[in-house]
Symmetry: C2
Subunit: 514 residues, 2 copies
């Protein structure tokens, strides 16, 4: 079934064979027909494809499928095949995370997702975080090591993913990739040295569309890779992909998008304007915050419930394995439930009497036993200390402060927001009700919250099947105003007020009943 939709990158052509009265050359015949089909003046074709065209076009009796790619206003041909050839025509979307990489194979004709794979960014072995990796590029062959690590990781996983869904690497004609500015640079083999040094200049803002072969990505030899543009060193293509995926740039209603990763990145706007900022809110919310803090995975506590009457605690673990730790969303649940059950006061302090036997002290610091050692997978108590809770309170206060600051910048109240998109793995697991209870996010009707999952991957996948996306991506990029959060007295006042559960101004959280 062919899909000659006006948005598709795959077009079926039936060329008029040449004759004495129409002696247009083979290449020009094809290009002319395609230019008409996609309404463009610009269309390029790889030279080796030109060399092989005359034989193929006659073999195919002038009936062929063209796989197109786009690079800004330019179009090009990423592949041609006879209409009788049943081999699949696919693209691959990549969310290039600092820690984790997720890829999705999409059928370019039907638009269907055929499979997905996730793997740790192999660069972790070289440097755990962005800063360490950028410093590594200053060593001999450092940039090359990091570049080869991610390219090889992607190649291996394309093959693995392809095997699982019956797609060969040569069936993949397009790749779209979204990542933060530093990761994108390392993927492209561009020196990120100046990204972290004043005045923080990337090598490139709009990498556009590059030959897969040039980058060493092993898919179809004519395939092209579109890399989402960045706005600067601290606002990457992953967030632009997220905005695209949310669709907030299409709506007249003002929405907010929050992506919590290492940083909490926040975008506010609508079809008329977009403003964005980033703040350090994240580290406290994912793995590393507590001794037992960890990423979501089997055995990790992702939900906690406390009966306010009996103060009995029940937990849910991922895949129902024996509990071995707690992830960000579980931690927020725990704090919210402790607060509602009045086991935590409004400053986030554990109340020993209310916590009863679950409250203990070690080296003068109070802690709360979430799981007894005889019920845990590790044979150790799973606990959360007052220090961890203080850290969570600072994080949630930072998040609320960012939200309040960005909205106030354009004179909007938080409760005027129509939609609140929460992106990222964190967003998929978080219970908005709990996050509202501790005052991390505003007290909007729950229906306003939309957990859109991996929006970076989602945006990348959109760009595989909709040839208009690049124009939209450019518009999003050009429309965003990036604001720096100035740490001034006003911000500090907001932060201080937000360091209470749910907030000093309790009237902002009418739904939170204790």
């Amino acid at each position: 079934m062919k899909n000659n939709s006006k948005k598709s990158f795959v077009r079926t052509l039936s060329l008029k064979p040449p004759s004495l009265s129409d002696n247009t050359a083979d290449v020009d015949r094809l290009v002319h027909s395609l230019k008409n089909e996609i309404k463009t003046d610009h269309l390029i074709m790889d030279f080796d494809m030109i060399q092989s065209l005359p034989h193929l076009i006659r073999q195919w009796d002038y009936q062929l499928d063209c796989i197109l790619y786009r690079d800004g206003t330019r179009w090009g041909i990423a592949g041609i095949k006879g209409t009788d050839d049943p081999s699949p025509v696919c693209g691959i979307a990549v969310d290039l995370g600092t820690t984790r990489v997720v890829m999705q194979i999409v059928d370019l004709v039907s638009g269907q997702t055929l499979g997905q794979i996730a793997f740790d960014n192999p660069q972790i072995r070289i440097g755990p975080d962005i800063l360490a990796r950028i410093h590594h590029t200053d060593t001999d062959q450092g940039l090359n090591h990091l570049n080869r690590a991610i390219i090889n990781g992607i190649n291996e996983n394309i093959e693995k993913l392809g095997r699982s869904c019956g797609i060969k690497p040569e069936n993949i004609y397009l790749m779209t990739l979204a990542g933060n500015t530093a990761m994108t640079h390392l993927f492209l083999g561009l020196d990120p040295h100046w990204i972290i040094r004043e005045p923080y200049i990337p090598v490139i803002n709009r990498p556009g569309t590059i030959e897969a072969e040039t980058l060493g990505v092993k898919i179809n030899p004519h395939a092209r890779i579109f890399t989402f543009p960045n706005i600067g060193s601290y606002f990457g293509g992953d967030l632009i992909a997220g905005i695209l995926y949310s669709g907030m740039d299409n709506s007249d209603e003002t929405a907010i998008l929050v992506d919590v990763g290492t940083n909490a990145e926040v975008v506010l706007g609508n079809s008329q304007w977009l403003i964005a900022c980033a703040g350090a809110a994240g580290p406290a919310l994912e793995g590393g915050v507590t001794r037992m803090g960890m990423m979501a995975g089997p055995g990790v506590i992702d939900k906690v419930t406390i009966d306010p009457a009996t103060r009995n605690l029940s937990i849910r673990t991922i895949e129902n394995h024996d509990p071995k730790g707690i992830c960000g969303s579980g931690l927020i649940d725990l704090a919210a439930q402790l607060f509602i059950a009045q086991m935590l006061d409004i400053r986030g302090q554990l109340l020993p009497s209310a916590c009863g036997r679950r409250f203990k002290k070690k080296d003068g610091v109070g802690y709360f036993v979430v799981v007894d050692k005889n019920e845990s997978a590790t044979g150790e108590e799973l606990t959360i200390s007052q220090v961890d809770l203080d850290s969570l309170v600072r994080s949630k206060a930072a998040m609320y402060t960012i939200l309040e600051t960005i909205t106030s910048t354009v004179g909007i109240q938080l409760d005027e927001l129509e939609t609140f998109y929460i992106a990222g793995t964190f967003g998929s697991f978080i219970d908005p009700k709990s996050a509202i209870s501790i005052g991390m996010i505003p007290d909007l009707p729950l229906s306003c919250y939309d957990a859109i999952g991996n929006s970076s991957l989602g945006g990348a996948a959109m760009a595989l099947t909709d040839s208009e996306c690049q124009r939209k991506i450019d518009m999003i990029r050009d429309r965003i105003t990036y604001i720096e959060l100035n740490v001034n007295q006003e911000l500090m006042n907001r932060f201080s007020a937000a360091k209470f559960l749910p907030h000093t101004d309790i009237s902002r959280f009418p739904s939170v009943k204790i």
Copy 2:
């Protein structure tokens, strides 16, 4: 001295260094500035140039020269260098002939020609003419052999030419190449199989601009090669370059351009329209027509004078060497002088009595002794036979018939032509007065005749220093109407009438006095 003329491919830029208030990426900073400079929306940069830019741009303190190239409406960067770098920035123009290749190195900044070289097309060793070479491509590796032969020949001669004028291959950033459709295909490694087979379809009409590296041409690694477009299998880029060089497409006055090579190719037109045709007129006019017929070269007779009173014959040879043969222009001179001295009748028959001792017969065929054996370089008589003269008369009649036919197609009289461009080596040596005397070309005032030399090379060189040329070339290509000469009764009547010296209708040649 820098030349930032609006037509130049070389532009000097002074970029504003980045700052906290202007954090545009390195590549985008350069591209944005260049887009402004050349007023374009489309500008591409090779990926390895992108990778090296951040270091270079800082080393050059944001002051750099950019060497641009054009591909239709797109622009790209063929080279960047610091403004302090004194190395030359050159281009090379190539006239790719079936027999002979001529190349010229041009300074892209000053526009000056630095040197020129000519060499035999090395493909001659594989096949002497177009047809033989195209048949050779049907053999195993045949196309590859022919392609390597011309590419290697060009590479060797670039180095040789470069050495003679102090230019290294890496100083050459642009190449422009004009040739007939078959030669262009062999240069590009494109299969010319269908060019000589009905319905005569080239692989490509507009090869556009291709990486030198892709084609194996050893100049600067980022250099680009622009190949002049063709209109079909029998109307090549060499002729389009010739039209460009003549400037006839710019003038309101109607002019005619004749390029005599293997074929006589004729273009008629002005700034409003252009029509073209080709006819087999040439073979009789260059090497091979007579036993002694040969290309121009030392010792070759290029000028003949006969005193009509005494019938004494005097010759001029190239470089004043002892005579060893006669070239096309010498042959035309000879025939014209014989005719004016009444030693040849109006049918082109030698008159034995008038020729005297110079007339001899062998095997029943009369011939004329041009040089006695004791005066020739070969020790043999240099002669021209009645068969040779008959052949010349047919050739000149064919030429005149083509000229008459193409002008009558648009209702123009030959004597209305303002300018008559004669291109090619042949055109450089021919004496228009002699050609008029035998009725080969019309009896226009001698000032109308303009021998423009190697117009294919001239057009190619123009495209190196004027970035507007590609637009003009496209316009020329799109504006030309190619007419097939139909061999009908009218054409045969014209041909018959033209087979007399100068013509049956003597009133057409008032200047020819016998």
